[in-house]
Amino acid sequence: MRVNGDYDVAVIGGGPAGMAAAIAAAREGARVLILERNDQLGGILPQCIHNGFGAINFGRDLPGPEYAYRYEQKVRALPVEIKLNTMVLDVTGGRDVFAINDDEGYLHFKPKSIVMAMGCRERTRAQIRLPGTRAAGIFTAGTVQRLVNIEGYMPGRRVVVLGSGDIGMIMARRLTIEGATVLSVLELMPHLTGLRRNYVQCLQDYDIPLHLSTTVKKIKGKRRVEGIETIQVDERFRPIAGTERSIDCDTLVLSVGLIPENELSSQAGVVLDDHTRGPRIDSSMATSVPGIFAAGNVTGIYDLVDYVSIAGTAAGANAAAYARGTAPEKRRRRVRLVPGSNVGSILPQEIEIGDDDSRPTIMLRPNATIDVSVRLRFTADDETVTEFRERYARPSEMIVKTLSARHLDQLRGDKNEEYQVEIV
């Protein structure tokens, strides 16, 4: 097997993060390879035929396929090698990349740097431990989206959606438009987990009831789903006896969260973060393994694709610089950011506080809903070093902040290596 060392940067995954990384790296003059397992670029976007993409990067409200198409045009205008239908099987810490496709067979690349852009996968029934039978008719929302929007098949007539995540609400609307009856959207939490605009546009406008603090107690049906039993839960998620309700349905759609897809990162020895479940990265999107960068949902779940593309751009540019040996030396002070109260996760986990004018951007995922003005604080030893104001904090929306000169000054004057970031 020939070892192909022709590429500076190999991008694993041709979704929004990978495409942006490839564009940025190629613009830096790097020889770039995209390895994509699907038969087209775009990741999950081609099946996201609803709008809601591009507000930041294009100033337009675009459907998913168009957002992807715009990036694909840019990729194809650059000298980027794209291998579709190509599955990466192994990545080593020494940057050996093994991949396979049905045209060229087994492939072994040795690029100078790698951008991990594998995205995420959906949480499944097993991870939320749903009791009941193993009948046909239980699908994740993304699978339903693919079946309906790409394959052109209806997976059911009478549908219940578990989880008020965005894909779940969007598929509730989509299935309704296609002629199915969506009986209910159930949500374990006492609040919506997806974006409010999706609640209005997908559920309210189609008279689909949302039941908060409610989950599935049991799935019925031996061969095909024949119904479910729901139950309400208290504030500590304990089922409340006597609140059971039976729903006759043939399909249960699960929209219960996403998990970064990091099997290749783990193989390569990349250190993962307990909060994001993605690689720990710094402001240059570098992981713990030299020459391996990561961007997008593989590093933690984003709320908007625009931010994924922005992260991909940074990762691609830095991967190109690494490959060409032009990466700036890391002499500036590096500080770790740790989630404090009301913060679920932070990206990146490490930022550099330099004397130059570079301004790190951080993204926080709140894990509580606070619908009044909040403060976002950097603290060390319970002392506040710097703080920002935000209008509200909601788990469904990331808080994205580029540190200002004032914040950087305050952090420069401090000597700690680690800050708790909290929302109060």
Partner: protein, 490 residues
């Protein structure tokens, strides 16, 4: 696969017992058929259990269970080798806490009485050396080195494929509906697809073996209760235990255990709950909590957050107690209806005993007058297709160079290729449903649990079987995935 109007032997049930019997009978010049109401082998209890080939230390001495388990354990080594069934020698630990020392001694005596001569008691530090995560107050354990873990589905598929290759007909989606008895003797069976005439009928119908008997008019007093056992599977990247660990047994059985599998995942379970519906393989909230608590009594670090899948199986617990005290297998050549062989009440250690049960059934048939003439053409070996994911880089490169379908990865977690799926669909026992493919290739068993591969696998099944997408099922008729195209009038 020859199908004909008259068989020498019809076996009801394509579980591990039925398949092992079929394979034994395939040695001889006989027309043999196996009927099953499901779409695949091992659809019932055989593929949903602890997957342990017990040493035979546990059954009460003198019972058929004790005898057949010990014999079965020895036979499994040969059978697994001949049939390329994944089997791993692990040994097993039955761990005791303070106050259970005398019960442990008793268990050792029972093991020795059953002929498990290598069973021994380990001191606490030896137990900890084998499994450092064992509960700290463990005082010792019974160690049975002959215990093994098996791939429970391959253990059914192996003998079934080998039987099919040697001429046994497997008739799926054929539900037994009644007995054919003529002049007081077995004449065959009725099925939902019409009668099948046969000189002998072997009742290996698992949890339904009592119903079969009753329709033949024998043993009205015999009843099988389905006892459901739930299990959890761990994500191997997050939690593994490389031992088979039992608590001390109680009257309900061998208890909730922590065990490893041939695939490398660890599993915990089972609990034990009688269910009215003999097909109720649902998992319950209460059961999950019970199993976690039980497993944590053995290995305290077991955590719910590392789980990847849950499943449940049904034990066929009969009420046959030849000594009035201990439940036993009911394996007999019927005196009342000549031509009927009953193999009933096959709960644990049924899987471990199955090759020995097959041996016994052939003996019962021979003694009952069935003429056994060996076939020269018989080939007792069967090979399992290679798993692409388990191959080296060089072997993978060679495969894909030969067949581009190896370059099309359908299941992204387990790296299952289109070539493996297509082969599974065209093997001697064809995989005709999603679950059948899943059990053979490990497709859809990884972290995404099929989320990515569903659409692609449905397409391949549709293409290879020549059926519309809407007719592709999860596990046979009634379990279709899709019901129409989009944008059609409703």
């Amino acid at each position: 696969m020859p199908t004909q109007s008259h068989y020498d032997v019809v076996i009801i049930g394509a579980g591990v017992v039925g398949s092992m019997i079929a394979r034994e009978l395939s040695r001889y010049r006989l027309a043999v058929a196996v009927v099953d109401k499901e779409s695949d082998v091992g659809a019932g209890s055989s593929s949903s259990n602890s997957a342990i080939i017990h040493s035979g230390h546990d059954p009460y001495p003198g019972t058929a269970k004790a005898r057949l388990n010990v014999r079965g354990n020895a036979l499994w080594r040969t059978v697994a080798e001949e049939l390329d069934v994944p089997l791993r020698s692990t040994g097993a630990l039955v761990v005791a806490r303070e106050g259970q020392e005398s019960a442990l001694e008793e268990l050792l005596h029972r093991a020795h009485a059953n002929g498990v001569t290598d069973a021994a008691i380990l001191e606490a530090d030896e137990v900890r050396a084998r499994e450092p995560r064992i509960r700290p107050d463990t005082v010792g354990a019974l160690w049975t080195p002959s215990a093994m873990v098996v791939d429970p589905f391959q253990g059914v598929l192996g003998p079934a494929e080998n039987a099919a290759a040697n001429g046994v007909a497997f008739l799926f989606e054929h539900e037994f509906t009644g007995a054919l008895i003529e002049r007081g003797r077995v004449a065959g069976i009725d099925t939902g697809n019409g009668p099948i005439r046969a000189q002998w009928v072997v009742n290996a119908a698992g949890v339904f073996a009592d119903d079969v008997m009753h329709l033949f008019g024998v043993h009205p007093e015999f009843a099988i209760t389905a006892r459901r056992g739930e299990y959890f599977v761990f994500d191997p990247t997050r939690f593994t235990v490389d031992n088979v660990i039992f608590p001390m047994p109680d009257e309900l059985g061998k208890g909730i255990l922590v065990t490893t599998t041939t695939h490398g995942n660890s599993i915990i379970g089972p609990n034990s709950e009688e269910v009215d519906d003999k097909e109720d393989q649902s998992v319950t909230e209460a059961g999950m909590l019970q199993i976690l608590a039980g497993a944590q009594r053995l290995v305290p670090s077991v955590s719910a957050s590392d789980l990847i899948a849950a499943f449940a199986g049904l034990r066929a617990t009969g009420n046959y107690k030849p000594d009035g005290r201990h439940r036993d297998f009911l394996i007999e050549r019927s005196d009342e209806v000549p031509g009927l062989i009953n193999v009933a009440g096959i709960e644990s250690p049924g899987y471990a005993s199955s090759p020995a049960i097959a041996e016994l059934v052939v003996k019962l048939l021979a003694e009952g007058g069935l003429s056994l003439e060996e076939k020269e053409s018989w080939d007792g070996r069967r090979a399992r297709p290679a798993r692409f994911a388990a191959l080296s880089h060089e072997e993978r490169a060679a495969r894909v160079a030969e067949d581009p379908a190896y370059g099309r990865i359908v299941c992204r977690c387990e790296n299952v290729t289109e070539a493996e799926i297509v082969e599974a669909i065209h093997r001697p026992i064809p995989a005709r449903t999603y679950d059948a493919i899943k059990r053979r290739t490990w497709l859809g068993t990884g972290r995404c649990q099929g989320g990515f591969d569903y659409p692609r696998t449905m397409e391949i099944l549709s293409r290879e079987l020549g059926i519309p997408m809407e007719e592709v099922t999860k596990k046979g008729p009634g379990s279709e995935f899709l019901y129409r195209r989009t944008k059609e009038a409703v």
